[in-house]
């Protein structure tokens, strides 16, 4: 069964090719069949591969499939090689399952869109690229998938391209992530040059042999990889693109900007965790970036009015938790949180999409309300996802994964009190904005009547994801991944739980019990100032616009007409002048010529005598 591994990324790629070539000639049904079916084939193939994987003896569960050579020159020999180990298996399972569910949902939710075929075309390319990314056994092949998902993100954010704001958001996402990608590429140059191979396994083995812990080259390489991860995963300081990326269709936000692509950075750092073990400084930077991002994004989520932007900042914040876990060496916990987050966040986005569609493309939280009875299925599923996001104890999957991260931040090998404190405060903030969202959308007075209920495809997907969100601890993949157990004391665990609960209670008090109080806080002078600062994501857009975008545009406009032409034009004019001057002497008068001749001769003799 393992031999079917190639089919996992190539089935969606095939779907992409069919849709790209024949999209004009296919009916909507055929488009949906190809678009969803290809992801279904990938899911089935992934299931078969997983069965084969577990049939392997537990000691050596690794499978490689070489599909040919890609770039070979000098001592570089990058291959199209798929590498399946426990980590890749977990990633593959999540990407194929969530991908299939979201595509199934889209078959219904996107049905009225004129770009139906284009949508599935891009989405299939995305799923294929994402699977290449997680299954790549070669770092350069991983980079191929990495850039591929970035491209699809660009195409899908700008899916409704007629609106200039959407096109701008798409460009912004592509450019900002590409800044990280450039750093990642330099990181690859460092690694390939130092290790002489691009094979991930070989590379990590050689790094462990050749580089002592704390070596500066290892730190440099790790930091460059981190820069790439920060771009893709929307962490400080490259986080600015993600909130704007919500301009894309909701299934895109669910799949790309919540469940899979945004966590590609987490996957990269987990895959290369051996390198980070050699570079403690880089690991610390990772944790600090994660902690800062989770606080920044959490507070920003508190004040957003747009439902999707709340979820976007929430995604940033939750990925921040994963970075904290990676930084303290608990990459297993990071992957656990990745799995639960992929489930509950895609659920939240899909349910939010159902709300937005039912209210006629209304995104504003304050224009919603009272949808509890009117959209019961959406309410209950959204509630399951929200509970998981807010880490409601014992029942929800999100509780267990976040708990592990907090425990690791406290007691892990590289943990610290401050990291834990940031995580605990973040947990309270998370619960607060989650509660705010739930209470504003589903409770209170109804402001608009929903126009439609989700159909069977959307409903099925929502229910499956909701069931997984409240499934407790059994999504934990760490039994498979291995790694060390974290033994945090009970008081620490209880404190983390209490923080989350406090947030939920606070949200209930503010947004349900005393909504007037919430409004008063928001309208007070300090509250309003803070709100203005946070709603724009702490002013980073403004800052970057000021120090990067405007100078660049100004400079290029200045040079548009080619300043370097100047010297050559001057040369041309000088020659023209010289020509005019010389022509002036050609008068045709013999007396002038004779006089000039005589003057020249006298001057020459004078010079000769003088010397």
């Amino acid at each position: 069964m393992l031999e079917l591994l190639w089919l996992v990324p190539l089935a969606p790629l095939g779907g992409f090719l069919i849709l790209a070539v024949a999209r004009a000639r296919l009916g909507r049904r055929a488009v949906a069949t190809v678009g969803v079916g290809s992801a279904g084939v990938a899911l089935a193939a992934a299931g078969a591969v997983a069965a084969g994987f577990f049939a392997l003896p537990a000691a050596g569960r690794v499978y490689e499939q070489n599909l040919g050579t890609w770039i070979s020159a000098g001592d570089l020999a990058a291959r199209f090689v798929l590498h399946l180990d426990a980590l890749a298996l977990v990633m593959m399972a999540v990407v194929t399952l969530v991908g299939f569910l979201i595509l199934l949902y889209s078959a219904e939710s996107m049905a009225g869109d004129e770009g139906y075929a284009r949508f599935f075309c891009y989405m299939n390319l995305f799923v294929a690229s994402m699977l290449v990314l997680v299954l790549a056994g070669d770092l350069l092949l991983l980079y191929l998938g990495w850039e591929g998902v970035g491209l699809c993100s660009y195409l899908l954010i700008g899916f409704w391209y007629r609106e200039p704001a959407n096109a701008r958001a798409a460009k912004k996402a592509f450019i900002v992530t590409r800044v990280g990608d450039a750093a990642l590429l330099v990181g690859l140059l460092v690694l390939f040059t130092q290790m002489g191979t691009s094979d991930i396994g070989g590379l990590l083995a050689r790094a462990a042999e050749r580089w002592p812990t704390g070596s500066s080259v290892a730190t440099l390489a790790a930091l460059l990889l981190l820069a790439g991860a920060v771009g893709k995963s929307a962490q400080l300081p490259l986080q600015v693109w993600l909130p704007d990326a919500m301009a894309g269709p909701t299934p895109v936000s669910a799949l790309i900007h919540a469940a899979t692509m945004v966590t590609a950075g987490v996957y990269l750092l987990s895959r290369m965790h051996g390198l980070f073990a050699l570079a403690p400084a880089a690991a610390t930077v990772t944790a600090v970036i994660g902690a800062a991002t989770l606080l920044l994004a959490g507070t920003s989520a508190l004040v957003q009015r747009d439902l999707k932007r709340v979820l976007a900042y929430s995604t940033m914040s939750q990925v921040g938790y994963m970075f904290v876990a990676l930084g303290v060496g608990a990459w297993g916990a990071a992957i656990f949180h990745f799995v639960t987050h992929a489930v509950f966040k895609s659920l939240l986005f899909l349910a939010a999409g159902a709300v937005i569609a039912a209210l006629g493309e209304e995104h504003d939280l304050f224009k919603m309300g009272g949808l509890r009875q009117r959209l019961p299925l959406v309410f209950w599923t959204f509630l399951a996802g929200a509970a998981s996001l807010a880490a409601l104890p014992l029942v929800t999957a999100g509780f267990y994964s976040k708990e592990e991260i907090l425990a690791a931040a406290w007691a892990g090998p590289a943990g610290g009190r401050w990291l834990w404190a940031a995580g605990a405060v973040g947990a309270a903030v998370t619960a607060l904005y989650t509660g705010r969202m739930v209470f504003l959308v589903f409770f209170g007075t109804a402001k608009r009547e929903p126009s439609q209920q989700p159909g069977w495809a959307m409903a099925t997907v929502l229910v499956i994801l909701a069931a997984l969100s409240v499934s407790g601890w059994w999504l934990d993949p760490r039994w498979l991944l291995g790694g060390t157990e974290i033994a945090a004391t009970l008081p620490v665990r209880l404190a983390g739980t209490a923080a989350a609960l406090a947030g939920i209670v606070l949200a209930w008090y503010f947004y349900l019990r005393r909504p007037a109080l919430a409004a008063r806080v928001a309208q007070s002078r300090a509250g309003a100032a803070l709100g203005r600062w946070w709603i724009g994501g702490w002013g980073f857009d403004w800052l970057y616009n000021f120090i990067f975008v405007r100078p660049y545009v100004w400079l290029t406009q200045l040079g548009r007409d080619e300043l370097l032409d100047g010297p050559f034009r001057t040369l041309g004019r000088t020659l023209d002048l010289a020509h005019a001057g010389m022509s002036w002497t050609v008068t045709g008068r013999v007396r002038w010529y004779a006089a000039a001749l005589a003057a020249g001769a006298i001057a020459a003799i004078a010079v000769a005598v003088w010397r």
């Binding site: 790209a20 004009a24 050579t69 890609w70 770039i71 070979s72 020159a73 000098g74 001592d75 570089l76 004129e114 284009r118 350069l140 980079y143 191929l144 850039e147 591929g148 491209l151 660009y154 700008g158 391209y161 007629r162 200039p164 096109a167 701008r168 798409a170 460009k171 592509f174 450019i175 590409r178 800044v179 990608d181 450039a182 590429l185 330099v186 140059l189 460092v190 390939f192 040059t193 660049y552 400079l555 290029t556 406009q557 040079g559 548009r560 080619e562 370097l564 032409d565 010297p567 050559f568």
Partner: protein
């Protein structure tokens, strides 16, 4: 002899098209198309024959002016073979691209077009420096006519600018060639302009530096390298709208080929000393070209700057003294020509429909022209170096080869990745996204245009996922060239010792 035919076929086809063009434009086009198709077939045949034990795919030599050691010496190796095929391929496409765009003096147009291709092939195949020089000059003449006769509103100055830049620099190169031949005569006792015999000619340090510099400057103008590039955007802007001339005459970078073939092999020691300067120019070119591409309103000027940016990688590769980088350089030459050709072609497509190349006057065209949009997207993505398309493979190998000895230059060059994505997304956004500015109904690519776009896309994707098709043949030959360099260095050292 096959090499001779690769050059002669376009010459004959061009002449025949001129004659036939007096009676019927269609006959001229058809003749040109057939000649280029045959030329492509020959080039592919020569390439796929594989290299012999000598490292040459094919070689041909007959005397020309024996008293000066000048002969007609042609050779095709791993470095030139992909470019010869590329030149024929783009020549064929150029005829197809010009099928509807050119209405006046069709016969004479195709005569010039095909002679430009022939001159390009002659440059790529020459192993005699005088022949190389003659072909170099011969390329300028048909290009001058193509721009000055069929070009845009400011065609005269643009054509003249190109001609003067090309001419002035070529003279420098000729002087260096003659000086090299004289040095060789002093050392060995007989004149020769044969490239292979001149390899390893002992030249004293200062003289070698000046010769190298003269050749370098001549090639840097043609490449073009910043700051000697100013003729190229103008030439592209004023070249005939359809894009055929840009594709056949300017996209194949003979300057880049010359850099690889002449500068380091003939003057290895002098070139090594020159490395910091050349690499600085390369990095400036990469960043300057990509930045300027962002500011352009004219799609052809944009493509010209994008191609200037790509040529910066050639300078890095040539002076990196590294096998990996050299293989990357050949890939960059092919890939950059293909992606630039795609953009020039799209510029022609848009100008035919809207009467303007000012991309800021367009907008929102995706729904009306999805095929054109997809093709442009792929060309722009290739130009910005997306993995999976041809340019990435070349640029990555160049960066990797450069990084080993010159990490700072490689890192600075990697910043070009950011500048290039900015112009690529702007290009797509301005033309295809946003609201429609020009509401006139418009047709998507016709089948002829679709076929041309598909051929370019297929080539970019094929080379992108299988770059070995180009680098595999280069390997042994570059190894031979490097060995030559080593022995050349050795010879010059022992010579100096005597």
């Amino acid at each position: 002899m096959i090499l001779g035919w690769i050059i002669f076929l376009p010459l004959l086809g061009g002449a025949a098209a001129w004659i036939a063009g007096r009676r019927s434009a269609g006959a001229a086009r058809t003749l040109a198309l057939v000649a280029m198709a045959l030329d492509l077939a020959l080039a592919v045949a020569a390439w796929s024959g594989g290299a012999g034990a000598s490292g040459w795919f094919a070689e041909f030599q007959c005397p020309w002016l024996p008293q000066f050691g000048i002969s007609v010496h042609l050779g095709m190796d791993g470095a030139s073979a992909p470019l010869v095929v590329l030149a024929a391929f783009l020549g064929l496409l150029a005829v197809g691209v010009s099928w509807r765009g050119i209405g006046e003096r069709v016969g004479f147009f195709h005569f010039n077009l095909l002679w430009a291709v022939a001159a390009t092939q002659a440059i790529l195949l020459s192993l005699d420096l005088v022949l190389f020089y003659v072909a170099w000059e011969a390329l300028l003449v048909p290009l001058y006519f193509l721009i000055a006769v069929w070009g845009g509103p400011r065609r005269g100055p643009a054509a003249l600018k190109m001609f003067i830049f090309g001419q002035a620099s070529a003279v420098l190169m000729l002087v260096a060639f003659i000086a090299l031949a004289i040095s060789h005569q002093r050392a060995v006792g007989s004149y020769t302009f044969d490239y292979l015999k001149l390899l390893g000619t002992p030249v004293a340090g200062a003289a070698a530096f000046w010769m190298m510099l003269a050749v370098f400057v001549a090639l840097a103008v043609k490449l073009p390298a910043v700051p000697l590039h100013v003729w190229l955007p103008d030439a592209h802007e004023q070249a005939p709208a359809s894009g055929g001339v840009d594709i056949a005459g300017l996209a194949v970078k003979v300057g880049a080929y010359g850099m690889l073939r002449l500068v380091v092999p003939l003057f290895p020691a002098a070139a090594r000393d020159f490395t910091p300067v050349a690499m600085t120019l390369g990095v400036i070119g990469i960043l300057y070209g990509a930045t300027m591409a962002f500011a352009q309103r004219d799609l052809k000027r944009l493509a010209a700057y994008s191609s200037i940016s790509h040529m910066g990688f050639i300078l890095l590769a040539v002076f990196a003294f590294d096998q990996t980088a050299l293989q990357g350089a050949v890939l960059v030459m092919v890939a950059s020509a293909l992606s630039a050709a795609g953009l020039f072609f799209m510029a022609g497509v848009l100008e035919r429909r809207f009467g303007t190349r000012n991309i800021e006057a367009l907008g929102g065209l995706w729904s009306a022209m999805p095929r054109a949009g997809a093709a442009t997207l792929i060309f722009a993505l290739a130009a910005m170096g997306l993995p999976g398309l041809a340019n990435f493979a070349g640029e990555f190998l160049v960066l990797l080869g450069t990084y080993r000895e010159h990490p700072v230059f490689a890192v600075l060059a990697a910043l070009g990745m950011i500048a290039s994505v900015i112009y690529a997304v702007r290009l797509m956004g301005v033309i295809f996204h946003g609201p429609r500015k020009d509401e006139r109904p418009v047709k998507d690519l016709s089948w002829r245009e679709g076929a041309i776009a598909a051929a370019l896309v297929a080539a970019l994707v094929w080379i992108g996922i299988h770059p070995g098709v180009i680098t595999a043949n280069g390997k042994q030959n570059f190894t031979a060239a490097a060995a030559n360099n080593a022995s050349a260095l050795h010879d010059s050292n022992t010579e100096g010792g005597r």
